[in-house]
């Protein structure tokens, strides 16, 4: 499962996407590497979400191609990306609030019993519970271990931890996090980001979209800056606040201030 750190596992080549007269993404190349956290930054409308959605199969590009592990792939739906081990964690929680952790972890990918019972669609609840608890313990996330507690009864941070745990459970290749901390407090945010680090550490390529530049600087191994749908920079070192702001807005922040 774990590939060597730094190997390119997901590639976008010449990706473009327009919505009517608006160009959301203009000929963007991107390489996403195993074991790294790649941050995507840019102003609103810079094309971050469009880029992520193309790589996750939620949006079809007008031009360009996507490669996963070196092979060209056509991602028609998010299910296609999931089959390749690419998971997306959304800012608004994609969980069923009335269901418990186990059910949510396996939502849409339930484990069935063996033999005839499985053929008629019987769930293997015991197996799912065991796997879910193993995953929760492995990630060390602070969510109730008892089954039967519905997600809706948990705090926002715990809910997002469940979403991240689910992503990590299924992500073999890449995990995309679109503003994963937007709805969270400081402590809860840092816990979720810590999880992102841990998941990258296991060899998964993590992509983080965030407006919160201190988070980006603290976590990212590589920062890709988008502006008006184009890639304007890719940084791996000397990532400073000033430099990022300058690249994001397109003028020198100091000059602009004076």
């Amino acid at each position: 499962m774990s590939v060597e750190k730094g190997r390119v596992v997901i590639e976008g080549i010449g990706l473009s996407k327009s919505y009517g007269p608006i160009t959301a993404l203009d000929n963007v190349d991107i390489e996403i590497r195993a074991g790294e956290i790649t941050a995507l930054v840019g102003d609103n409308g810079a094309g971050k979400s469009t880029l992520i959605k193309i790589l996750a199969g939620a949006v079809t590009p007008d031009a360009g191609e996507v490669r996963v592990n070196g092979e060209t792939v056509v991602l028609r739906t998010p299910a296609d990306a999931r089959d390749l081990g690419i998971e997306t964690i959304f800012q608004d929680l994609a969980l069923a609030p009335d269901r418990d952790v186990v059910t949510n972890l396996f939502l849409g990918r339930e484990v069935l019993r063996k033999g005839l019972a499985g053929k008629i669609g019987m769930l293997d609840r015991g197996e799912m519970e065991a796997q879910a608890l193993t995953q929760i313990d492995a990630l060390g996330v602070n969510i109730p271990r008892s089954t039967g507690v519905s997600i809706g009864e948990m705090s926002g941070g715990q809910q997002q931890s469940v979403a991240v745990a689910r992503g990590a459970f299924w992500a073999k290749t890449g995990m995309f996090m679109d503003e994963p901390t937007a709805a969270l407090g400081v402590r809860e945010s840092s816990r979720v980001l810590q999880l992102a680090r841990q998941i990258a550490g296991s060899g998964v390529a993590v992509v983080l979209i965030s407006h919160i530049l201190p988070h980006v600087m603290e976590l990212a191994d590589r920062v890709v800056v988008l502006r008006h749908g184009q890639k304007v920079a890719e940084l791996t070192e000397d990532i400073s606040m000033d430099r990022l702001v300058t690249l994001i807005v397109g003028v020198d922040a100091h000059e602009a201030a004076t």
């Binding site: 998010p78 959304f90 609030p97 009335d98 059910t103 939502l107 990918r109 669609g121």
Partner: protein, 313 residues
Amino acid sequence: MAIVAIGIAMTMVSPFFFQAGNFLNVARAVAITGIVAAVSTPMLISGNVDLSVAATMGLSGMTAGALLVQELPVPVAILGALVVGLLMGFVNGVIVVKFRVNSLIATIGTAFIARGVAFVINSGRSVFIPAESYVNLGQGSALGIPKPVFYTVVAFAVIGFVMRYTKVGAHIYAVGSSPEAARRAGISVPKITWGVFLASGFFSALAGVVLTSQAGSAFPYGGQGRELEIIAAVIVGGTALTGGRGSITGTILGVVLLGIIANSLNLMGLPAPYQDISRGLLLVGAVATDQLSGRTLGGRGVFRGLRAGTEEA
């Protein structure tokens, strides 16, 4: 707890209450409502509601009656009734899934249509059913249990199994809890929605067959007014009208509780309108208690104590 309390109160009021025969009376009285309440549970859990169930009962019953009068074989008549039920479910599914009409509105519409057609079939007259083997389906007992009660038990068992132990059941809960989360998880919300409407039509038609065989004739107004009684039973049983929560166990309790109350009032010699009054009070009281206890419906509230024992077993 509620059932036990009412049981004790009733024994004090009427010594007939605690006789085995009376329990069968209660079961027989709620049997047909129970079949439809069983299927209405996944319907509500999926976040939809089907108000055309009673009209489907009437229409499918009339269909069976009309086919029998033409001297067609009994299996053909039953098949015809079930096909009508599935057709109702299919049409409701089209309106809700394809045209994105709220299920409440859609099924009020189709209920009017189905009821109208049920009256048109024999110009508003009821149909006397000549086939004895058809009538036998709904009368008498099997294994000491009145046949309609037997069908109801089967309906509850099948639907309860699906909801609790299968992937389809898990998906129905997920769709009702958050359609968006279900969609993103790769669950087909249209398929699940269509599925529950087809099941609703099928079981409503089955209830229509049982109703007409029990009565020995088919009435165009068969089942009229039962839709609200059925939904009341499901809601009293703790299923959320907003979807995502509820259980067959709860619905069984709801159906039985409403049945016991009706029976008790009967034994006390109070006329039928008092049953409606008590039904209404129970429904409002149950939901209000759930709200006050800081919870929305489902799993908690009035039946918390009752279900704690049954669900964890």
